[in-house]
């Protein structure tokens, strides 16, 4: 009768299973050099992550303003404000007159209507200044 190889009848059988598996353990233990290299990698990762968590100047500035915010949150807020500012700038001074959509003339439109030539000329000209009296 074929004995059931992995039947567990007692603690002794369990121990035998453990012995067999360990005897034919396909895994080799990592070497000291392998572990040392892995340790070094982990410390290197720590350095990278700590450096990447240093907030920008804008983050520090925002952090100072917004007391109680974490530096990372402040940095994020600063980056968000800069990004929004850039987008608004693009709309205001770029080709998309977003202000006209809400009924107000865009800055670019104002610039077109108000040329330098239409500005009132004052009586005091460059020739009249003391510097050019000679």
């Amino acid at each position: 009768m074929i004995k059931n190889f992995f039947r567990k009848n007692s603690a002794a059988d369990d121990a035998k299973i453990r012995d067999v598996l360990r005897h034919y353990d396909p895994m080799t233990a990592p070497t000291a050099a392998y572990l040392a290299a892995l340790e070094a990698d982990i410390f290197a990762q720590l350095d990278v992550r700590e450096q990447s968590s240093i907030p920008s100047n804008a983050g520090i500035f925002m952090g100072a303003i917004c007391q109680g915010w974490s530096a990372r949150t402040a940095a994020f807020a600063a980056a968000l404000i800069v990004t929004l500012g850039f987008i608004v700038g693009q709309f205001s001074y770029g080709d998309v007159p977003v202000a006209s959509v809400i009924g107000a003339p865009s800055l670019s439109a104002l610039a077109d209507e108000t040329s330098w030539q239409s500005l009132p000329v004052t009586e005091a000209s460059w020739e009249d200044t003391d510097d050019n009296a000679e």
């Binding site: 992995f6 567990k8 360990r22 892995l38």
Partner: protein, 212 residues
């Protein structure tokens, strides 16, 4: 985290520059976690020396890929560093149980992702159930066969075998790592043994003597 050390961990600094490591080894895992929470890298190094080899091997037994096991161990210890501030030494789980759990969960997730990417061709290369008996065994490396049999187990069963038989965790602790009751863990181990037996039978192993 800063790198300023509290006085009680100054001795750990000595270890980091190559001094005697006995003092660090004497500290409990919880003591080391307290030090790590304060940014003590020397304490972190002691903890790694204590468990890194064990965790790499555990991950390797589940994912069967040395490079993936390395990445899993690395991620697990980075989590130790990051989570040290939140570590509760009076919590329900010991540090070692928690670390085991992180490694097992990462390994199972990694293995499942890898399995989804396995092509049909690779599956066809797996050994068939029609092994040619003892001649096949004699011609093969038995360790390789055991490895193949273990690799065919589902991830959780493989993790249970790794924890209980190879890592020698008591059944209760192994169950805690797997986040299940001891009874459920026992059932999982039984299923793992049955499947292992089937796999080994495919290779011609019928009796205990076949492996001796």
């Amino acid at each position: 985290m800063g790198n300023t050390l509290p006085p009680q961990y100054i001795r750990l600094v000595a270890e980091s520059v190559g001094a005697d490591t006995d003092s660090g080894e004497a500290l409990s895992d919880n003591d080391l976690m307290v030090a790590i929470a304060e940014g003590d890298r020397a304490a972190f190094a002691v903890l790694m020396k204590r468990y890194l080899a064990r965790m790499v091997t555990l991950a390797h037994r589940i994912v069967f890929d040395r490079e993936q096991a390395r990445e899993i161990a690395q991620e697990a210890f980075l989590r130790v560093w990051r989570q040290a501030e939140n570590w509760d030494p009076y919590g329900s789980a010991t540090f070692l149980t928690w670390l085991h759990r992180v490694v097992v969960n990462l390994s199972i997730s990694c293995r499942r992702r890898a399995r989804e990417q396995v092509s049909i061709d690779v599956i066809e290369d797996m050994p068939s159930g029609l092994a040619d008996g003892f001649d096949h065994i004699a011609a093969s490396d038995k360790k390789h066969i055991v490895r193949e049999a273990l690799e065919k187990l589902p991830e959780r069963q493989r993790a249970a075998i790794a924890l209980y038989y190879f890592d020698d965790l008591p059944q209760v602790q192994a169950a805690e790592v797997m986040e299940m009751t001891p009874r459920a863990f026992d059932s999982l181990i039984v299923r793992a043994r049955v499947n292992l037996k089937k796999s080994l039978a495919d290779f011609g192993f019928r009796r205990r003597e076949d492996l001796s």
